[in-house]
Symmetry: C2
């Protein structure tokens, strides 16, 4: 067992899209677990769009990463040494390890994983992204059989969960994804009724026409994780009493892709005239629903009834580039870094 | 009994704020009620901001008024002749009479009024505006004791109902109104904890500072019936898990007062980060709640526990000018036309 560890820190705050120079790979001494703590060797790290927000020095629902601090993130790993009750060397656990090869965390902040499922599923389909889709669809999408759902970034770990759950409930599901390959995966792997390649459309009007064709009865639920042109395309297609769970807005992160006209009055008018319900939510408010989620979804994953895709980058040193590519839509499924 | 009637028609569609030339006063022959119909002599007519929307030729939740057609509106009147079961000459009734001295309506579309209350209350505090405040606050505002509510147009019939109901439920209530006199009425007549004169503030930042001072714990419910600068002022003050019932947007009717910058990305970010719930609603979806509303509120009005204010214009010929003035905030309470 080596006595050094490595970690990726925030070297500077990005302007718009992050670049490699915003990150720094550093090495240090392996920490020693205090009482009630566990030393973990990280085997898999999760990369998620929300991390982009943490790189800004802006008041948000969670603290920013400090300059020079380790990038925030969830990891899966093996227990090397435990001073916490209930954990033993060799256990597979998950927790907020950060972008690091090793972490010391209190036992109370760790969860032991079911060894019958691949450990990386704890970061995606059975982790935060899966819970996000499950909570948001049920609590804020309020799906009803026969309705139509549109979801952007549809092959991602949240979008694919939303689509599969909605399909199971009897909704017509329409995927929006970037590129022909993702569209193929959306329908073949995740069972969407239709998939629309947003890259094949130059403007919101053209994208809207394609969505309208796939949703002849209009849109009852628009799962918002993209914003920008996709939002602009979908809004006029919303049905009366439609719901918009706002889960993210990747197109607008860093202040990019913002249309010049003031779109708020039109949005406000749509919300009023169509009696829409727009609900922002953050998964950190919903950890208490995790056991119910796991009880519902884990058996379906084990039986193959819910599919998932992972993109795996190799090595902590490649985490920044994988993250940068993911924000540009370079990933297909859940982005994992294997250490 | 005269055999002529008069009505106000839509002479042309307004550009922006309506002007007198957009309306026409016409006379015609008194209609004869068919089977199941009632002939009414209108005594009081309601003027409401939603009517501005009906003057545009835009698809909305309700049909536009046709050019040359009678302006839509609710009236109260006396039954002159009844061919409908349950209605007799001399009854006081309310229904969608339009801006007219007389109307023939099916008995099924009329409601007989409790003679112990002033008939005009059926157009305001115990009519559509009152119901709007009651339904919207309970269903979409979800008020909790100790929270803070901000309402614009606070001496109007909707805003004053919202404020009084919220106060009764133990909320801190903050009125926004135009002018010192309305602010005085807001606190003295309607019991708001604080009242802010938006005309005393040149920009959203200045208005925001005043609201922040009156709402040291932030804003939990923003009752949206104004939009424009008031919305811009309130948004950054919203608390996590805040609610915004969207009931109207009088500042933006006719496409005016629209800020140049695109305010949608900022709004979307606030909705996400603060987990806000924005709910558009239209009272026409909620008529089934009218009996419960009346059972709750009518006794409080009778006992003087819920106050109301009416602005009364005299004569149908003065309805257009009263309506034009009301849209500019010239009224203080519920705008009525007495015929």
């Amino acid at each position: 067992m080596s006595d050094t560890m490595s970690r990726v820190t925030l070297a500077r705050r990005p302007k718009g899209a992050p670049v490699p120079e915003d990150f720094k790979l550093e090495t240090g001494t392996l920490p020693t677990p205090a009482t009630d703590e566990v030393l973990i060797e990280v085997t898999h790290l999760s990369l998620d769009p929300y991390m982009r927000g943490r790189m800004d020095d802006v008041k948000s629902y969670a603290p920013s990463v400090d300059l020079g601090g380790t990038m925030t993130g969830q990891g899966v790993g093996l227990v090397l040494e435990s001073k916490a009750e209930g954990f033993a060397k060799g256990d597979t656990v998950t927790g907020m390890t950060g972008w690091a090869s090793h972490a010391c965390l209190p036992g109370s902040e760790l969860r032991k994983l079911d060894p019958s499922l691949p450990p990386s599923t704890a970061l995606g389909v059975l982790g935060m992204p899966g819970l996000t889709g499950w909570v948001g669809l049920h609590n804020f999408g309020k799906p009803k059989a026969g309705e139509t759902l549109v979801v952007g970034a549809a092959t991602g770990p949240v979008g694919s969960m939303v689509g599969q759950l909605a399909k199971e409930l009897g909704l017509r599901t329409i995927a929006i994804a970037g590129g022909a390959e993702k569209c193929r995966l959306a329908t073949e792997t995740f069972g969407f009724d239709a998939a629309i390649d947003h890259r094949a459309h130059d403007d919101a009007a053209s994208l809207r026409a394609a969505i309208a064709e796939a949703a002849p009865g209009g849109v009852d639920i628009y799962w918002e994780n993209v914003a920008g042109q996709v939002l602009e395309a979908v809004m006029p297609l919303m049905n009366v009493h439609g719901r918009i769970p706002v889960c993210g807005m990747i197109a607008w992160y860093g202040g990019s892709n913002i249309a010049e006209t003031n779109q708020l009055p039109g949005m406000w008018r749509s919300i009023l005239v169509k009696r829409l319900h727009v609900s922002g939510f953050i998964i950190f408010d919903h950890w208490d629903e995790f056991p119910a989620f796991l009880a519902d979804v884990a058996p379906k994953v084990a039986k193959g009834e819910i599919a998932y895709l992972e993109d795996v980058a190799e090595g902590l040193e490649n985490a920044p580039n994988a993250f940068i590519a993911m924000l540009k839509g370079g990933n297909t499924g859940k982005q994992i870094v294997k250490l």
